[in-house]
């Protein structure tokens, strides 16, 4: 193979990957601007928003509750073992509370909702796109960015903090029961010891940061769904990409937000 052919065979896919990367972000920017503009101007789609709040909130509740319950038991088992080894068993309630509320609760809720809601929204909108239902909405003089995207994204933003509270509550309850089964510990003692010296700054920013997770999940799922091409395979790709990209951006955003919270809410 000639040297120029070798260079072009490597450079060409790299250039196309590079272009695709920036094209994706450019399209996401335009999409976000259209959704924002549609969301802040009348007419407002109140009924669709309520439907989406139910879809994202109530229907995700059992799943996040179960995930929270499992996480509570896991942290309880792991923490008891480690703390006993270091002779710090009295720190168990605080360790459980801080681990759940500050770290695991928000991230687990985000990832679970990203899997359930992100895939659902991505597939639903993609299916509507390939069967021309979104075009039909637009042809009926209805703004699809307002009706389909803004309502779904807003529902995710509003519901994620509430779902996180549910995850936290379930995790703390099961964590407490897992400990109480091994060693007698009153619930009052567990709570007062766990939250001893805790401030709003320690918990509120960690819970409300999940609104940003909601924005990421809703935005990515709606964007991937509404730009779908290519029939059933396209619908499958949209659902997969929605989950993968939303989960990835969610974790990356968490890195930034943790640093931000540590600086501004010490």
């Amino acid at each position: 193979m000639r040297r120029t052919d070798l260079v072009s065979s490597v450079a060409s896919p790299a250039t196309s990957l590079f272009n695709g990367f920036f094209e994706w972000f450019g399209e996401l920017g335009i999409f976000s601007w259209r959704v924002l503009r549609a969301a802040v101007t009348a007419p407002y789609e109140g009924r669709e928003l309520i439907r989406q709040l139910d879809e994202v909130g109530s229907k995700s509740l059992p799943l996040v509750a179960m995930a929270g319950a499992a996480i509570g038991v896991i942290i309880s088992l792991e923490a008891r073992y480690s703390l006993t080894r270091f002779g710090a068993k009295s720190m168990f309630p605080a360790t459980l509370v801080y681990s759940v509320v500050q770290v695991m609760g928000p991230v687990i809720t985000g990832l679970v909702v990203s899997g359930r809601v992100g895939a659902g929204m991505g597939a639903e909108l993609a299916s509507m796109k390939v069967t021309e239902q979104i075009d039909a909405i637009e042809a009926s003089a209805i703004n699809p960015y307002r009706l389909l995207a803004a309502t779904r994204i807003l529902a995710c933003i509003l519901m994620l903090p509430l779902l996180t509270l549910a995850t936290d509550a379930c995790a703390l309850l099961t964590g407490y029961f897992a400990q109480a089964l091994v060693e007698p510990l009153s619930f009052h003692q567990f709570i007062s010891s766990g939250f001893n010296g805790a401030t709003f700054n320690a918990f509120l920013p960690q819970t409300f940061k999940t609104a940003v997770y909601g924005l990421i999940i809703g935005l990515i799922a709606c964007f991937q769904g509404m730009r779908t091409r290519g029939g059933a395979a396209g619908v499958g790709r949209a659902a997969t990409n929605s989950v993968v990209l939303a989960s990835l951006f969610l974790i990356l955003a968490d890195v930034v937000m943790v640093k931000f919270i540590l600086v501004f809410f010490p």
Binding site: T131, E132, D135, A136, E138, A139, S140, A141, N143, Y145
Partner: protein, 262 residues
């Protein structure tokens, strides 16, 4: 000489006396991924007139309809609705124009999670908020009766046949009492009896509502039944435009071949 910018931003001058045509497509070009679909199409449709756009599959007939309703934008040329160039209009402004237009999609494009009643009520719920629920229900029943489907109110789109889905799509397109109907292959994929029924329905609507229509089809029989004027597309351009008799008298090879094969 007019630049591409001038063409894209200036409203087209009406050329037929002082009357502004309802739809004016002027010198429109459209390509997809380097493949030229429309190359310099010019068409006009006046109030109350029916135009059938004929042509082989893949000649850009459906693309033309999508350009007229603003679901696609031309690479160059203008599409004017009542003299207003629709290029670059914001979605909400375009929505005001679309309220005067009804669109029947080739595959009907019914909302598959809604019942037939909800599908037809959908535009009314969003644009006729002054209507009470009972008024809306009455209107939906009346529209479905017009297309002969009053008994299918609570069925899902997946529970009815392709022909019935097109009728529901037509009822939905008529919900806002449009001034023009855009019909994309209304009889495609239907048996001859169902096709004839759809043609009859379109003729009845034209008689009763006196609305303009643009019908995209490759079915010559259907086109000459429902349209007063026909336009034949080939390789992205209008080969001939006029009455069916004019097409029959044409010496153009493609026109003769199309008429013979149809």
């Amino acid at each position: 000489m007019a630049t591409a910018y001038d063409i894209a931003t200036k409203p087209a001058e009406p050329k037929q006396g002082n009357s502004v045509p309802f739809v004016a497509v002027e010198n429109v070009y459209k390509s997809f991924a380097g493949h030229k679909v429309l190359s310099g199409v010019t068409l006009r449709v006046n109030q109350g007139e029916t135009l059938a756009v004929l042509g082989r599959s893949g000649t850009g007939k459906s693309v033309l309809l999508r350009l007229i309703i603003g679901l696609a934008t031309p690479d160059s040329g203008t599409v004017c609705i009542r003299g207003q160039n629709i290029a670059g209009l914001a979605l909400d402004r375009m929505g005001e124009i679309r309220k005067k237009m009804g669109f029947l999609f080739q595959q009907a494009a019914l909302y598959d999670s809604l019942t037939i009643r909800e599908n037809v009520a959908f535009p009314l719920e969003h644009h006729r908020r002054d209507m009470s629920k009972s008024e809306r229900d009455d209107r939906v029943r009346q529209l479905l009766a017009e297309v002969g489907l009053e008994g299918a109110l609570n069925k899902m789109p997946s529970d009815i046949s392709g022909g019935m889905q097109k009728r529901v799509g037509l009822a939905r397109a008529l919900a806002l009492e449009p001034e023009i109907l855009l019909l994309d292959e209304p009889t495609a994929g239907l048996d001859p009896i169902s096709s004839g029924e759809i043609d009859e329905l379109i003729l009845k609507l034209q008689r009763e509502r006196r609305m303009a229509s643009i019908v995209v089809t490759h079915d010559l029989h259907s086109a000459k039944t429902i349209a007063g004027r026909l336009a034949l597309l080939n390789e992205g351009n209008v080969v001939i435009e006029g009455t069916f008799e004019r097409l029959q008298q044409s010496d153009i090879g493609f026109v003769k071949e199309f008429l013979q094969q149809s």
